[in-house]
Structures are given as C-alpha cells and as structure tokens.
C-alpha cells in the first residue's frame, strides 16, 4: 500500500496501557472508529481481545486439516508402493499389503505433517520471521513482552489523520502518545 506524502517517515502512533480493562475498552474504541491497519500488543493472550479488535478467525485449521490428510495418504502409499509394488517379498506368509499393519505408520505421518503445517502455517500467516520492525525502535515498546499493553495505529491506514488519530488515542490512554518513525 502506497503512502501519501504528508506523513512520510511516520510509521504510526503508539498508545500504552497498564490495565487489561482499559486496554480491552481502548481496543473496542479503535475498532469502532473503523481503523483497519492497527494492532494491539500484549505480553500474553488476553481473552476477549480478538472480539474487542474484531479479528477474523484464522484459516489455519483448514491448512492443518489438508496437511493431515496428505500425511495419511503419504503414509499409506509409501508402505503400499515399497512393500507391495516396488520390491515385494514374502514375510511370514502374510499378504503383501494389508491395512492393519500399516495403520500405525500412517497415523504417525498424519500427525507429523499436520503438526509441522501448524507451526509453519502460523508463522507464514503471521509473516514471521520478521526480524526488523519499526516498533522495535521504540524503547518503551520493549515492555510489550513484560507487563505493558500497547495499541499501534499505522500511518498507512486510510482513516489515519495525524491529529484525529492522536486525539482518539489520547482520549482512551492515560499516557502520552508516541510517534513511531518509519526508518527507511
């Protein structure tokens, strides 16, 4: 998304909170103000915050489900092709391919594929790893992993206006609003 000239070099505003309550309320306010490019930062999961922010439910489960099915298929096909097709041998007079004996490994591959997809999917959807981010430049933001809660509104948001946005944030946060530079 391209940025308009007036606030070039500005990433956005950062408001901080001390209490979960204020934080939740603030989040709903920002949400209701109609901002889209904003985020809330907390050192731990706050239940209800998703709703307060109006975050849409992630597609991750579907990814994992598909990956799981793939794993199962791979598990079965691997055993069938290697033992019954490519290099069949007679073992204990047993059939070359029989499902029961192949269940355990198929199960394991299912789990393996699904689990890996869960982590990788999460990271990809989160655009992680992203080792640099403008917010990291802010000293006080470091407490986002400790004991403080933040709301950041990005300059790229269509509704973003240096004055109104600042006012909104000041109205909901007891603390001064910080500007976040967007380092080139």
């Amino acid at each position: 998304m391209s940025k308009t000239a007036e606030h070039a070099g500005l990433y956005g505003y950062l408001a901080s909170f001390d209490l979960v309550d204020e934080f939740l309320v603030a989040a709903t306010r920002v949400r209701d103000a109609g901002y889209t490019h904003w985020d809330a930062h907390s050192p731990f999961v706050i239940h209800g915050l998703d709703a307060a922010m109006g975050v849409k439910k992630t597609v991750l489960p579907y990814i994992v489900f598909v990956a799981g099915l793939t794993g199962a298929a791979v598990g079965i096909l691997l055993q069938w092709w290697t033992n019954a097709v490519d290099y069949p041998f007679l073992i204990s007079g047993k059939p070359l391919f029989s499902l029961p004996a192949n269940i355990p490994i198929a199960f394991e591959t299912t789990i393996l594929f699904a689990a890996i997809s869960a982590l990788v999917g999460m990271l990809v959807l989160n655009r992680l790893p992203q080792l640099y981010h403008p917010l990291f430049a802010n000293r006080s933001f470091k407490r986002a992993t400790d004991d403080r809660f933040f709301i950041s509104i990005e300059a790229v948001d269509p509704l973003f206006d240096p004055t109104t946005t600042r006012e909104l944030l000041e109205s909901i946060s007891g603390r001064p609003i910080e500007e976040i530079e967007d380092q080139p």
Binding site: F89, L90, I91, G93, P95
Partner: protein, 1024 residues
C-alpha cells in the same frame, strides 16, 4: 634345504592363483617332494612319481585316482575333466586305534574342505563320526609342527630331512634300538615292520594305545584259546544286552552298528529290538535303552554273572562244562532294580535265543568278556547276531604289557635309540610308569608327530608328521576290508608319514608313501597292480571282498577255567561306598585320548549328556553328590592311586550310586593354542593295575566353585524351572511304547489340545518345490555328528570357552537333551532319569515369527519355502532371535574370524558366506547344496530327484534319522514320513507351521509301558 622346503610349502599356498606362471609352476613341481633326492630313484619310477605327485600338487589328489592319464599341466590350460570352482570328492581313509575308517573328502580347487563318510566302506556306509569329520580342521591347524627339531643339551636346532636320513641309517643297527608305534592295521606298515626287524634283528617293536579293546581280545583268548575279533550284528538282534558297553558310540564299527540298530527299530514295520543296558554312567547306548540299570562298573561283572546264573538256574540254559562255574555265583547284595533288570533280561534272552546278543565294554576285565562270549555261544548268537574273525596280530602283547615292558627296559638302560611313530606316551602312558621321566633318559629318541607335543619335547628328535589327508597309506576296517588312503593335498608343512619314516629306519631308503603302498599292495595281493585295479581301489577307497574270513572257534576248557577264577575274584569286590566311591576313567567323546585336544570344533562340541564344552568334569548322580556333600559346579578334590586332582563337579542323573566318572584326554600341556590347559589331565589317575575302574577313591568338596561352559541349562536348577521343564518335555519330545503305539497309532497326538490353527489372512499358496525335513527321534542317538557336519559345511566359527559361558555358542544345530523324571518331583528327589534327544535347528516356519519383526527384511521367505537369511542385508537388531520360539538363531557378537590363521581359512566352504560381525545367522537347510543340485538338474533339464539333495546333517547321520525333500511331491520320503502317525511338529500350537517335523520316539520295554519315567521316580525315592 629345510628353509627351501619351508618356503616351498608356503609359496605353494600363496600361489594358488599365480600358478599360470608356468616357469614357477614347473619349478615347484620339480621340487614337489622337496626332501627327496631325485637321482636315487630309477628313471621310470621317477617319471611316474613326478606325474602323480606333480598332479597331486596341481590338482590336489584329484589326479591321484587316475594317475596313468595324468600329465603336469599349467593351469593356463585347464586340465582334462576338471572345472575350476566345481568341488570334487575323493575316497580316502583315516585310522584311529588301528582301525581304518573310510571317508569321502570334498576338495575345492585343491583344498580339502569337508570330510564325509564313504558309502562303500563297511564301517562308514556313508556316515562319519564327529571326530572323524573334524580331521579337516586338524589338517589346517596352524599349531602343527613345521620343521624337524633336534634337542641336545638344552639347545634346540632346526634340521631337515636329509640330515635325519643321513644319520638314521646307523641309529637302529645293534641292540638297544626300539620302535614304539601306535596300534595300526596298515599292511604297508606291517610289511615295513618286518623289513625293519629283518634289517635290525636286535631291534624291538612295541605298540601302545591308551584306549584299546585289549580286554575283549584277551577275553576271547580265554574262551577260544586264540584271540578273535568280535563283530556284533544288531540288525537281526531282538535282544541286545550291553554291560558297560557302548556299541552305538565307542565301538570301531559304531557307525555300522547304529545304522543296523536304527533300521531294526522301525515301529511302522512293527519290529523293534529290545535294548538292555547295565552301566555306571549314561552312554549313548544307555540313553536309547528300553531297560537300563545304573550299577558301578566294578559291579557290572556281578550283574552279568547274575544273568548267567538266572539263565542256567531258572531257564535251564546249557553252559559248556568248563564254564559251568560262571553260574552259581549269586549276588545277595543286588538291589531290587538290579534283580528286576536281571529277571527281565534273562527271560528275554531265553525267549529270543540266537536272535539276542550280549556285549561287554572295553573297560571290563577279560573274564567278563569271556563270560559274555560263553553266553553268546550258549544262546546261539554265534553266527547270527555275532561273528568272529581271527585277530589280525594275534601274537601282539596287550598295549599295557608293551608299554610296561618298554618302560622296564628303558629303566635298565637297555634302550639306546627309541623311534616313536605317532602317539603321545609322555602324556598318556600309565602314571605308575613315569614314562616321561624315563623317556628323557633315552640317549636317542625320535618322535614322529603332528605336533611338537609333550613327548616330542622330551625326545632328542622331533619329526613333523604328515596328516592322514596329506599322505599315502592304507589300513583295514574293523572287518578287515582293505581301505586305501590318498593325499588330498601336498603336505602343508613338509611332514612325512609313519611308513615313509619307517622305510628310512629300515634302511629301505627314502621312498615315497605312494611307492610303499603300491609295493605292499602288489606284494600282498600277489597280483601285479594293473591300472584298473589300482584305479578302482583308489576311486572306491576300499578293495572289494578284502574282508577277513569269519571263523567259528571251538571253546578252550583250560582258558575257561582261568576265566571262571578271574570272574570269581571280580565278584569279591564290594560295592563302592560314600566314603570310598568308585571312579571310572572314560575316553572322551570329543578329544578321544587327547589327540584331538587342539581341535576347536571338538573342544566346543557340547558333550551329548552333560552339554559341557571346553572341559572335563567329575560326573556324579544327584544322590551321590548329596551324600558326599558336593554340589553342581563345585570344585571337588579327588584322590586316587596317590594322585590328587581338583575337578569341577557336574551333577547328572543316571550315574550309579557312589560312582563317579571323568573323561581322559584333557589338561594337555603342549597340545597347541587351542588345547593347552583345557580341563584336567586325568591320566595321572591311570595306572597299569587299574586303567579304567578305580575303586576306593576319595572325593571331597573344596567349597570353591567353577563355572562349566555348558550350552544348555544344568540338570539342577531352581524348583520352578525344574518342574516346568519336566512338564514341557512330554509335549516337545513325544514318546510312547511300541505296544501302546501298535495298539493306538494316534497315541502321540492325544496330548495335543489347542484351538484350531487358523490365520487372520488368506494363507499363502506354496507352489513348486517346497523343502521340508523330518527327524526321527526314534533313530537319533545324539552322537553329535550332524553338529560338526554343519559346522564344517557352513563356516561356523568357534567362539571359545568364555563366549560359550556367555551363551553365545554358534553351532546352528542344537542337540537338545532333556532329562525325563516323574512329574512333580524336585531335583533333590531325583537320582536317575530318562534322557531324550531332540536335534533342534531352524525349522523354517511358513508363518515365521522372525520374518515379520525384521525391520529391514533381512530374513524372508524364498519361493521354495525356505526361511532365508540375507546376511548382507542384516543390521543385527536381534529381534528375530528374540521372537524365535525355538531360539535357533545365532548372532555374531564379535568378528569371530578376525584372528584366524591363513591355513584355517583354507577350510572355508566357498559356497557359503563367511558372516561378518553384527549379523544374525542360522540354518538354511544347506541352501547352497539345494542350489547346486537345482543348477545341475536345470542343466540336464530334468526334475530334481527325491533324495538328491542332502543337507550336511542328513548326509552324515549314521542313523539316517534326518529325511529331507520336497513336500509338494506326495511320493517323496519326507512327505511320506510326515504322514506317519508318529509325525508331529514341536510348538505347532503357535500356528507357525514349521517345515521340520519330528517322528516320535518309540521305546520297547517289556511291560509295554515307558519304563524309565516311572522308574526314575522310584529310583529317586529309594536312593534319595
């Protein structure tokens, strides 16, 4: 010269594949018998000589049996009728204690790799004993002596044959020369002896063997006035009575006797002789007995006398007048068991006159043999179940007399020069003679021997002997059949045979064994040796129709009288007591008199009864052990005849009360790396007065314990295991009595109760040839021959005592031995037990439990139904072994081939993979033999005939207990034997479908009920 000879021997071996280099090869041939001075041979002989011996070098004996055609050819041009890589077999023979045993030796590119029996040989009939098969390993033994040694004034000099020859001429002239030979049957050696004695009239000739049948010989002299040789025939015998005798194992013709015995006891044909055995400890014959009583060896005469007594008194048997005294001596101290035994036997002997035979063991005194001969005579056995031939050397004094006389003369400094042909008197002469010390005092003593052994080290000269597989020779079978010996390979270490050395001593000039044998043969048979005759003789290994005439000697009253007196004396001997038990010295089943002590195969071969390897032990019965106060694996100090030895105790049921037995042949000091210090030298107990049976010895426990390396659990284990073992045997090794079997053939299946055996999946269809095996437990006598055959055929390593202690022995065949005692009795209540054998090796299950658990498919099924083991695929998880209910898989815990000598490696069968470290291995029904036959059959585009494939174990089994063949062929022997009522599969209830079935053992006791089991309990209670 010696160095060259030495080099020559080695160079030959390194250059097997370099032989294309014609020049070298010719040179090698030129020096073929390196120490011979060619120019002293007449040209004609020499050319023949060159041809034959050259050939025997190049083609390792192959050519010897067709010498007239042979010419020396470089390997560049393949010789006529020979395909490199295709093994060939040659007939030859070996001699133990003066009896020749015929062998067929497989030679692979000039390397003899396996010895099998010669079907044409009367004492072999195609089978071969464990000991004889192990000869191959002895041939390649790196410890064999490689050079002539002269020991003077504490110094030791390396000499060569020329030096010895040049000096030998003068040595034997004049008084004081003597030769000490072993027992021999070789006509050539006999002829040379005459030649020697004519050349040196004053020289003396002695023959000594520690183990012999002299008592039997002497016994016949007492009865018949002249010595005769006894030939039992068990084929037609309805009743066989053995008194301390083991005709099925320690008899020179044992292989033949086993064959007859097994064939005669065929329940399907309803026949079945009855075997009575009275002995001091379990012999293999005793194991198969229908009625067995354990009596001290010193009481065996009384037992036999009681039988005679009962026969005469109760059954009115007529004895010759002079022998009447044999009867009438009643033994009042007899136990109930003994009386019962005597009554049954006497009655049976009477009812089966002329179809019964009484046999007495070699350790019993001549008088006892005399009594047996008289009984056989009176019972009309002579001519039917027993025949006689004249003794080959009737005027030979007994071995003990000979060695004693020699010792006396040495003591009186009458012996200047002593030539010892083979043997090891310094080790095995009777202890009271101090032969070793005496020998050291002889001015010139020459010992011809395979090893620089105890005797050699005391002699001034040591001469390396050539192995019987390296030399020409001949000998006579037990029945006199002339058996020839041809070299399979050039002497590895430049040794020479006894006849060659004796020829030198006889001033007959150094002649080749080849010449000597041909000379004596032509001299004997009178006929000039035509090419055909010689060729056939060599090919067959025997000269047809050359057995001795049987004789029907008349009884000699004078002798009988002295025999009667002799027996009376024996009857005076009281029973052994706990304070003064009896000790019986027995020849070892493996190292024999000690001569095979350096043979790893034999040392590691589990003893049939005790399963002990790498040791000899003091065998006593549980009750005796309790009375004396010693326990299993405790070291007991045994004092007898002035010597005191510490021996580990092995408690084994079936020994007579207060009677102990220990094997001779151990505790060698100079046997070689393998045999040195293994076990205890019990010859120190052995005196001329009491060579076999020592009464009044003292046995004391020392409290120290010594772990015996056994391949199976000991008899005495914890109570739970003991009772469970007793429970399981009945189902694993099934047996019944002949009467019960004939009445209800299904009897052995009645104890099976398990749910129907059905699979979860559709069973695999096995098309085409499907190999299977049937093992007849009624025929198997537990002689261990199959184990050695398998070891030789399949390159099975020897792992040593420590690894056997760790239960890592490698033999693929385990001869399972079970003691059967009455159910519910504890080890403490048992003194006697029945023993059953079950050869156990991979049974090639169709639903093999080992296969399904192998993660890398290293063991899987072949199309012909074998449970194949893919060595190069195995990564060694050992899961297959864990899941094998028979525990017949063997694991290479180390690289057991790492330290093998190059010569030992020459024994390897090139058709079988040598397994590396970390790999599982097991029996595969000798798949290499199956494939060889299959290829041959395919080449001739014909089906494989039944019986054409012979696994090594089946091939060598004297009892023909093992049948192998195609299960899909309804008419094959194996299919038919599996359809017999006696056929069952061990652990069939696991639904693993073993391809090996067993045929139940059928005993033939009088009362029709299996005697021993109930008996055992009773004995126990009485004695316990």
């Amino acid at each position: 010269m010696s160095s060259m000879n030495h080099h020559n021997g080695m160079a030959y071996w390194r250059s097997l594949d370099e032989l294309e280099q014609t020049a070298e090869f010719r040179e090698a041939v030129g020096r073929e018998f390196p120490n011979d001075d060619w120019d002293r041979l007449p040209p004609a002989t020499r050319r023949q000589f060159l041809k034959v011996m050259g050939a025997s070098l190049a083609l390792a004996g192959l050519t010897a049996c067709r010498w007239p055609k042979e010419e020396i050819v470089p390997f560049a041009h393949r010789p006529e009728g020979r395909t490199p890589g295709v093994p060939q077999r040659f007939a030859t023979s070996m001699e133990i204690d003066g009896v020749a045993l015929g062998m067929l030796v497989t030679s692979f590119d000039g390397r003899p790799i396996k010895a099998e029996g010669n079907p044409l040989h009367p004492d072999s009939l195609g089978a071969l004993s464990a000991v004889a098969q192990a000869e191959i390993l002895q041939l390649y033994d790196p410890d064999r002596s490689r050079r002539l040694l002269l020991r003077e004034g504490g110094q030791q000099y390396v000499k060569d044959w020329n030096e010895f020859e040049s000096l030998a001429g003068g040595l034997f002239s004049g008084a004081g020369a003597a030769v000490l030979a072993g027992a021999f049957s070789s006509p050539t050696l006999g002829a040379l002896r005459e030649r020697f004695l004519t050349a040196h009239p004053e020289a003396r000739w002695y023959e000594y063997e520690p183990i012999s049948r002299d008592n039997e010989r002497e016994g016949t002299r007492l009865v018949f006035g002249s010595m005769v040789r006894i030939h039992p025939h068990l084929g037609g015998a309805e009743v066989v009575a053995c008194f301390d005798a083991d005709p099925l194992f320690d008899h020179p013709a044992a292989l033949r006797l086993v064959r007859e015995f097994a064939a005669a006891r065929n329940p399907e044909s309803g026949t079945g002789g009855r075997l009575y055995v009275g002995e001091s400890g379990f012999s293999l014959t005793g194991v198969r007995a229908d009625h067995r009583v354990a009596v001290a060896s010193s009481r065996v005469p009384a037992l036999l006398a009681a039988v005679a007594n009962s026969l005469v008194a109760e059954h009115g048997l007529e004895l010759p007048a002079a022998a009447a005294g044999f009867a009438g001596a009643t033994d009042h101290s007899a136990t109930d068991d003994e009386r019962h035994f005597v009554d049954l036997l006497a009655a049976d002997l009477m009812t089966h006159r002329s179809r019964s035979v009484v046999l007495v063991g070699p350790r019993q005194a001549p008088a006892v043999h005399a009594l047996a001969a008289v009984l056989n005579h009176a019972l009309g056995a002579t001519g039917s179940t027993i025949t006689y031939t004249a003794d080959p050397s009737p005027d030979r004094p007994s071995h003990l007399e000979a060695i004693s006389d020699l010792a006396r003369r040495i003591q009186d400094d009458e012996i200047e020069t002593l030539l010892i042909l083979g043997g090891n008197p310094a080790y095995d002469a009777p202890a009271d003679l101090d032969f070793a010390d005496l020998l050291a005092g002889v001015p010139v003593s020459i010992h011809l021997s395979l090893y620089d052994d105890e005797t050699s080290k005391l002699c001034t000269w040591h001469l390396p002997a050539s192995h019987s597989l390296e030399s020409w020779g001949d000998g006579a079978a037990w029945d006199g059949t002339l058996s020839l010996r041809q070299p399979l390979i050039e002497p590895l270490y430049g040794g020479r045979s006894a006849i060659e050395v004796l020829a030198i001593a006889a001033d007959d000039g150094p002649k080749s064994g080849y010449e000597l044998v041909r000379e004596s043969l032509s001299g004997r048979s009178g006929i000039p040796i035509s090419g055909d005759f010689w060729r056939r003789a060599l090919r067959d290994g025997v000269v047809g129709q050359s057995a001795w005439e049987t004789v029907a000697p008349p009884t000699d009253p004078a002798g009988l009288a002295s025999a009667v007196d002799g027996l009376r004396e024996l009857l005076e001997v009281g029973r052994p007591t706990t304070e003064h038990p009896e000790l019986v010295l027995v020849p070892d089943a493996k190292v024999f008199d000690g001569r095979f002590a350096n043979n790893g195969w034999l040392q590691e071969l589990p003893d049939a009864i005790t399963k002990i390897t790498w040791d000899n032990a003091l065998l006593i019965s549980p009750a005796t052990a309790r009375d004396i106060g010693v326990s299993d694996s405790e070291v007991a100090s045994v004092e007898a005849r002035g010597a005191t030895l510490d021996l580990p105790v092995c408690v084994v049921p079936g020994m007579a009360r207060n009677c102990a037995a220990v094997a001779l042949g151990y505790g060698r000091a100079a046997a070689g790396q393998v045999g040195n210090g293994v076990g205890v030298d019990t010859y120190r107990f052995r005196t001329t007065a009491a060579p076999g049976i020592l009464s009044g010895v003292a046995i004391r426990g020392t409290g120290r314990s010594y772990e015996l390396a056994t391949t199976q659990d000991h008899f005495a284990i914890d109570t739970i295991g003991f009772s469970e073992r007793n429970l399981r045997v009945a189902d694993l090794v099934r047996e019944t009595s002949l009467d019960a079997y004939l009445e209800n053939p299904e009897i052995i299946h009645e104890q099976e109760h398990h749910p129907p055996l059905i699979s979860l999946w559709k069973d695999h269809e096995y098309e085409g040839e499907q190999w299977g095996m049937a093992i007849d437990l009624n025929a198997c006598i537990g002689c261990n021959a199959c184990i050695v055959a398998c070891q030789a055929e399949n390159n099975i390593p020897v792992v040593g005592r420590q690894q056997v202690l760790n239960q890592r022995e490698m033999q693929w065949i385990r001869l399972d031995r079970y003691f059967k005692t009455a159910p519910g009795v504890t080890p403490d209540e048992v003194d006697d037990a029945e023993i059953v054998f079950q050869p156990m090796t991979c049974v090639q299950c169709e639903n093999a439990p080992c296969e399904q658990v192998c993660p890398v498919a290293a063991t899987q099924h072949t199309t012909d139904g074998l449970n194949a083991m893919v060595y190069n695929r195995c990564i060694g998880t050992r899961y297959c072994s864990n899941n094998c209910p028979y525990k017949v898989r063997r694991f290479n815990f180390f690289n057991y081939h790492k330290d093998l000598a190059d010569t030992t490696k020459m024994q390897f069968n090139p058709d079988v993979t040598v397994r590396s470290r970390g790999v599982m291995e097991k029996c595969t029904f000798c798949v290499q033999r199956i494939e060889a036959v299959r290829i041959a059959a395919r080449n001739d585009n014909r089906p494989i005939a039944d019986g054409e494939i012979m696994p090594a174990c089946a091939q060598t089994c004297p009892a023909e207990a093992i049948t192998f063949g195609n299960l899909n062929d309804r008419s094959s022997d194996v299919s038919r034997s599996r359809e017999e009522h006696r056929s069952y599969a061990a652990l069939a209830e696991l639904n693993i479908r073993p391809r090996t079935h067993y045929l139940a053992r059928v005993n033939n006791p009088v009362d029709g009920m299996p005697s021993s089991v109930e008996g055992a309990g009773d004995h126990g209670k009485e004695s316990g």
